[in-house]
Symmetry: C2
Subunit: 209 residues, 2 copies
DNA sequence: ACCTGAACACCGTTCAAGT
DNA sequence: ACCTGAACACCGTTCAAGT
């Protein structure tokens, strides 16, 4: 599994196939099925390991007195980093539940942090899931595009060009914002969402406290 | 393309292959390449058509005087509906840009709505992208799981069970919220995110106006 | 202008057989 | 306990040939 992760990171893109993994390890491709039930299991195991690394990194980064907002920002930042490092894994597992130790520790960290706001239990869980699903889904969407390779990236930017070239008469708002649409970054969008979620939690905590 | 969409909706899941599409249309699979450059082009074309339907449905649903908050809620609701109807398409295209008329009209609708708050152009665009990317990514994540079929669904719930069965001593917050974690719905999470984004826009509009 | 059919270079996975 | 190798049932895509 470690070699699988290392391999994926090095070869990137669509390198994660049972056959290529076998070739990399100098072993018959079908030997894989001695160690994992199927490819899906490997992907989930890699995802869980990546989450463990994220939690470990967070433990080093955080100290007990940190405000909860900064804890959430750090989790978001670490998720972004992991998704950028292992796009192939993240792209195929971000919508899934691994049920492994990495995920359990991450759930506990987020739930502890958000429970600290003193909301009722249903609101705490709803905010936890809303926050976590935003992180995973937005990082996953970026990983999906990363993972598809340069020819798709070219296609993406030509598609945006087509959107921006829309005639002014029919699409005035689009044309009025072309400059900003072209310069906005994925990371800025991500941070905007994170801050909106934090603001919503602050508002809920104030209202209930 | 219409037949492709119809076919996908009927057969669901992993039915979208060039070969099965050929069989469905009673034609050699490779005839497909006379009409689309590759499979990716078909998927993007279907996605754009789905977006057109969404915009058409929104036109019927909305009237000129609707508050901007309700417009955004209606867009979110329509996106959820489309993603649930065509999970195969949504799952493979939600992170992509089609550059087609459906997307152009959707961009224009959202940008017009958010520009109405009177924020500066960079903030307007950042909120538009943050809102749109949340919709697409969250709906996409749900579509991905839908699309994987019942055996993966079973795996998902057994994975959750493993998370919830975490020992209380190590994972106290998780154990304290098991009931709520089990009962929260994906739609409630989605709505929580949408409301957070709307709240953030309201706060920004108030601060700037 | 459109369709066909053989072919290429891949996938994940199984199962009987080897050491 | 682990690996091998043939085989199965698929993919997307190309290209020369047909009508």
């Amino acid at each position: 599994m470690d070699r699988a992760l290392e391999f994926i990171e090095r070869e990137g893109a669509g390198a994660l196939t049972v056959r290529r993994l076998g070739a990399e390890l100098g072993v018959d491709p079908t030997a894989f099925y001695r160690h994992f039930r199927d490819k899906d299991d490997l992907v989930l195991a890699c995802m869980d390991r990546a989450e463990q690394w994220a939690v470990d990194a967070l433990r080093d980064r955080l100290t007990a007195g940190d405000p909860w907002q900064d804890v959430l920002r750090a989790v978001a930042d670490e998720s972004w980093r992991i998704a950028g490092t292992y796009p192939a894994i993240y792209a195929s597992a971000f919508a899934r539940t691994t049920g492994g130790p990495g995920e359990r520790r991450m759930v506990e960290l987020l739930l502890t942090t958000i429970a600290g706001l003193g909301l009722d239990r249903p609101s705490t869980v709803l905010f936890y899931r809303a926050f976590a699903d935003c992180l995973l889904s937005l990082c996953g969407a970026n990983a999906l595009v990363d993972q598809l390779g340069p020819e798709v990236e070219a296609k993406e930017s030509s598609a945006w060009a087509r959107v921006y070239a829309a005639p002014s008469a029919e699409y005035p708002a689009t044309r009025a914002h072309v400059g900003e649409l072209l310069s906005v970054t994925d990371r800025a969008i991500y941070d905007r969402v994170i801050e909106a979620m934090i603001q919503a939690m602050e508002a809920a905590a104030t209202a209930s406290g």
